[in-house]
């Protein structure tokens, strides 16, 4: 714009996109949903096989919902018929999604297991499903997770979208994935059998992010290799007063968001009680930063009159939370950066100057 005397090539019809090297095309495609990535094969001959080596396998049923926009139904359609069509549409969406997931994963897993000149394994396998797709049987999802992991990705990102938890027997589903370094699970029920096998299944795991998950009977998250760990709004599935132990000798950063209930009328994700955490074993020497957020605690302390608290059994539990929190903070005191929030005020310690030497 400013003094555009020279300027690059003519806009006269160059195909700048196809001129880019494959590595950049993959970089671009890695941000698109898998259906669209596969569809690029018809753009031109150059694009025909690019999808087979895509960096990301991204299966998200919303990619189908957006195209299944309601047709121009006119007003005279009988309501019942309309609903019938909507239901069918939903079924179509989930059928087509299944078809895509099965076929794409089949192609990629087959390529991964054949030794001859197969495309490199994907970096990320992402599976994101919501209610529309869940009625399509849980075995599907287990199969997709299994096949996705067979493709040997470096990251697994499995999200069940719509609030409630999603039961999947990951221990049975996961064939183990030695290349996997990053894992994020959303709204998944974590079975004991799975959690006990973390090290065996994922011996290279470095980042573990559990988001809105629930622990069934498990009470331990143990990984010899995890360096970055986040446990965000997870809860116990049953009203058990145990603390979840975190055993992670290589831990470098830890982020905990702990839901804390202040009345009986709480949103479901808060669960009936708190879930406390404790860091087991010797303090990890590599621990650099930790952030602990207690959701709602401030309001509890503010709102309730003091005398009412003593007799409230929830308060007793919450005192237990505060106690477990205290223990936790003590075990984290070696961290260079420690942040506690959600209590009435945010306490911040920036202990050792080097990391936070901005001023």
């Amino acid at each position: 714009m400013e003094g555009s005397g020279g300027g690059g090539g003519g806009m006269a019809g160059g195909d700048r996109l196809s001129d880019l090297p494959d590595s950049l095309l993959h970089c671009i495609l890695s941000r698109l949903g898998s259906r669209q990535v596969v569809q690029t094969c018809v753009l031109s001959r150059q694009w025909r096989h690019l999808w087979r080596a895509a960096w990301t396998i991204d299966l998200d049923d919303r990619e189908f919902l957006s195209t299944a926009a309601p047709a121009d139904d006119t007003g005279d359609v009988v309501v019942a018929l309309y609903h019938h069509q909507q239901t069918q549409k939903k079924e179509n969406v989930s059928d087509r999604f299944e078809d895509l997931a099965d076929n794409l994963l089949f192609h990629r897993a087959a390529a991964a297991s054949s030794s001859s000149a197969s495309p490199p394994p994907p970096d990320t396998f992402r599976l994101c499903i919501g209610d529309q797709t869940t009625h399509a049987r849980q075995t599907n999802q287990a199969r997709w997770v299994r096949r996705g992991l067979l493709c040997s990705p470096a990251a697994l990102d499995f999200r069940y979208r719509d609030g409630g938890s999603f039961v999947i027997d990951l221990a049975a589903a996961a064939p183990g994935c030695p290349r996997l370094t990053r894992m994020r699970l959303d709204n998944v029920i974590l079975e004991k059998s799975f959690m006990e096998q973390l090290d065996a299944l994922f011996p290279a795991l470095e980042e573990l992010h559990l988001n809105g998950c629930s622990f069934s009977s498990v009470v331990q998250i143990a990984s010899a290799t995890v360096q970055h760990h986040a446990v965000d709004r997870c809860r116990k599935r049953f009203d058990v007063q145990h603390v979840v132990n975190i055993v992670a000798p290589r831990l470098a950063t830890l982020r905990l968001a702990i839901p804390f209930c202040r009345s009986t009328n709480v949103p479901r994700h808060c669960g009936p009680t708190f879930t406390g955490y404790s860091l087991r074993g010797a303090p990890p020497p590599s621990l650099a930063g930790a952030s602990v957020h207690v959701a709602d605690a401030g309001r509890y302390l503010d709102v309730r009159p003091l005398h009412g608290l003593i007799l409230d059994p929830k308060f007793v539990r919450n005192m237990a939370l505060l106690d477990s929190l205290r223990q936790l903070l003590l075990s984290l005191s070696g961290a260079t950066f420690l942040e506690l929030s959600g209590l009435r005020s945010v306490v911040r310690h920036a202990v050792a100057p080097p990391a936070v030497s901005c001023h």
């Binding site: 806009m11 031109s44 299944a68 794409l104």
Partner: protein, 186 residues
């Protein structure tokens, strides 16, 4: 950083006066000169970092024959903007975050930075970033291009990017049948 630590403004002017030490001069294919923060250049570009470390930086302008002046101006602009947005203490805490994606989402200013570019300028910048080994700038520009593709049909993508369809009708039909599972149309 050692003497007059008192005023931030004085610090600034002193920095400008010491420009020789803190910046690197780059020369575009058409001979224009640009100055860029040495620290940012080294941090953002593996190629420039290598040149700085290896002493192959020319005080009169390091030749970058592959990059036109408009693209180089954008590169330099990007580096200098980046130099001014060094993570603060507040960001350190939010950096305890997790990313299962292989890339990071662009920040607001980075989005705006690429949004104002013309089609050709965007692609010139991608190529320059690729040449200079600027991973972060590649992420930002590739993100922009992916947004131009997102949600579009193959026909629409061909139109936006001027891609010539060199398939025969029969070939296209064959592919669509082979990969029917990705081509259901509603």
């Amino acid at each position: 950083m050692e003497v007059d630590k008192g005023k931030g403004e004085a610090e600034e002017t002193r920095k400008v006066a010491e420009a020789d030490r803190d910046t690197v001069t780059l020369k575009s294919s058409d001979g224009k000169l640009f100055e860029v923060s040495k620290e940012a250049a080294a941090r953002l570009s593996t190629v420039l970092a290598g040149m700085i470390a290896g002493g192959s930086i020319d005080d009169n302008g390091t030749d970058l024959k592959q990059i036109g002046s408009e693209a180089l101006e954008n590169v330099v602009d990007y580096c200098n903007k980046h130099a001014n947005s060094i993570p603060s203490a507040a960001l350190i805490s939010s950096s305890i975050s997790f990313n299962t994606a292989p890339f990071k989402e662009p920040e607001e200013w980075e989005r705006k930075f690429v949004d104002r570019l013309s089609h050709d300028a965007l692609f010139d910048l991608v190529e320059a970033a690729n040449f200079l080994g600027m991973e972060r700038l590649l992420d930002v520009t590739c993100h922009k291009i992916s947004e131009m593709m997102k949600g579009k049909s193959p026909d629409q993508i061909r139109e936006v990017f001027n891609i010539k369809n060199d398939y025969t009708k029969e070939e296209l039909e064959e592919i669509r049948q082979e990969l029917a599972w990705a081509f259901y149309d509603d």
